[in-house]
């Protein structure tokens, strides 16, 4: 009987059937995720006549679509609108979610558990159910077609509060007590001591919130009517409605819209993974 193990240097790597299944599933999943993204970039480089030519690499690639989208006055406006909404809502969540999460994690008071459960229970209400009251409220307060109207439902979130509470619970009380003895007030302790200790959670929350608001479609579509206030996802649909579905323009706009999220993800991906892992572990 011959065996590869008898000849050092020619040893065959041991093939683990489980690993083959695992890698196959991951490969299929990866292809399913990446293909639409590649086609989006590919289509953005095609002329209208090439749209239904499904080759991944265009026969005659062109950047004309990009020049046209960027020359189109409204695109930059939508880009700025999306940036304002995503940045303001993200900063608001970082501030308020962590403040509430810290309070729930580190202070003992009557009703603390009830408040936490009440906040968590709002996670179970679907957005579709909330849209009508949000709309009525916006109409009565005069918030329709304003930045504040787009932003207010997301200024704090139950998920963010939950995530931050779980993280703050891991901060040893000794740090906070030492700061109390050193003379800091409670707000300063939160800001100067506790917040820097939960940077991974803050990064994860910032990424989730930014991405969620950057790609938000349903509520901004309902609350905005004027083109000047459209966010990018709403604006991109206008390529379909007004110009008889110009796929190459939609894909070009989408490709440009993806750039900030790609950059954020590539820079902060280790925090996303860590944040998701820790949220899972502690939850």
């Amino acid at each position: 009987m011959t065996s590869a193990t008898e000849t050092p240097g020619l040893a065959m790597p041991r093939i683990n059937p489980k690993a083959i299944v695992r890698w196959t599933i991951l490969f299929i999943g990866g292809v399913l995720m990446v293909t639409p993204l590649l086609y989006m970039f590919s289509t953005s480089l095609k002329t209208p006549g090439q749209i239904y030519d499904l080759r991944l690499i265009p026969a005659e690639p062109t950047i004309a679509n990009y020049l046209e989208v960027l020359r189109e006055g409204d695109f930059m406006r939508w880009f700025i609108n999306s940036s304002i909404v995503a940045v303001v809502v993200t900063l608001s969540n970082l501030f308020f979610d962590s403040l509430v999460g810290y309070t729930l994690a580190k202070f003992q008071f009557r009703g603390r558990r009830f408040i936490f459960i009440a906040i968590l229970s709002t996670l179970m209400i679907p957005t579709e159910m909330l849209v009508i009251p949000w709309y009525l409220m916006s109409a009565q307060f005069g918030w329709l077609d304003t930045y504040w109207g787009i932003m207010f439902p997301g200024m704090t979130t139950a998920f963010g509060t939950f995530l931050m509470k779980q993280f703050f619970e891991t901060v040893p009380d000794d740090f906070l007590e030492a700061a109390r003895i050193d003379g800091m007030n409670e707000f300063t302790i939160w800001w100067k001591i506790a917040m820097p200790l939960v940077t991974p959670a803050l990064s994860a929350l910032a990424i989730f919130t930014f991405l969620g608001n950057w790609t938000a479609f349903f509520w901004p579509l309902i609350v905005t009517t004027s083109k000047e206030l459209y966010t990018l996802p709403i604006g991109l649909t206008s390529f379909a409605v007004e110009q008889a579905i110009r796929w190459e323009m939609i894909m070009t706009g989408a490709a440009l819209a993806t750039i900030p999220t790609l950059v954020i993800f590539l820079v902060l991906q280790r925090f996303i993974v860590r944040g998701v892992m820790l949220a899972g572990l502690k939850g």
């Binding site: 000794d174 007590e177 030492a178 109390r180």
Partner: protein, 348 residues
Amino acid sequence: MATISLKKLTKIYGKAEVIHGIDLDIADGEFVVFVGPSGCGKSTTLRMIAGLEEVSGGEIRIGDRVVNELDPKSRNIAMVFQNYAIYPHMTVRENIAIGLYTQKLDKDEKAKRVENAAQLLGLTDFIDRRPAALSGGQRQRVAMGRAMVREPAAFLFDEPLSNLDAQLRAQMRIEIKALHQRLGSTIAYVTHDQVEAMTMADRIVVMKGGHILQQGRPMDIYSNPVDVFTARFIGTPSMNIIASEYASGAVSGNGGSPILLGVRPQDLHVGTTTDVGAGTGLSLSGPVTAVEPLGPETLVHFRVSGETVIGTAPATEIPPVGTEVTAHADPAQLHRFDAETEKALESL
């Protein structure tokens, strides 16, 4: 520096009273060590002094002020925690400087104090490093620096050496004691390690079950424990406690009531049956169950009426396990306790 005074201090959690009205006066510049097993109330007492736990009853004075209702920051005390509580996102310099957070000093004065504290604690070379780049002992020094820099009325230490290895702990014991001698500061120090208590304290306060069992100078407590618990807790290895009926040659007598005899392993000399001066003091015999050669001497474990007793043999005489040995203690080294109350009787 200041005195600390506790009067009828009580702590109640829900319906459970965990500190039962303790009285204690710590003198200006005194180094007092609270020692006792887990759950005895020593850390709770320290945290009440710090203002981190509310006082349920009684009074705490720091200097001439009653501080029961004052915030921790208003008590002018500094505390060093078991896990150091130095902030990982700040450098050594920033960690020490945070102790001066509320002090209205100019920038130069603050910087000078930080530099001085770092120099005193041997941290100058690491002053711009973060805690992750420091050893356990260096981190503990940073925590001490943060406490020192404020020049507080009193220092509180809550088991500060528990997380260090044995060698480092011994070194830090000496450093803290030297620091106390240099600064002359009032220190309240909590530990469950009686070696720390013995080696560092001006005065030891032994606690159990929310009560102070005994307080006094280390050697006074070692030599004259008031009860069996203190006798066994202070001193290593623990004092042997033997029912008097098993001890041949021992002086007994408690008005006919049974007594317990205590003898420290260092005072119980193990030898062969022939070289023991029978007839005086305490004699115990039994088979050897284990030996621990320590270098200068050997600890011999042997069984007497089902109980393990530890005696000391010279370094060169290590009895084999299983051999019969006899141990002897002078009458002057014996401690007598009431078998029922476990309180010390008058000395023999």
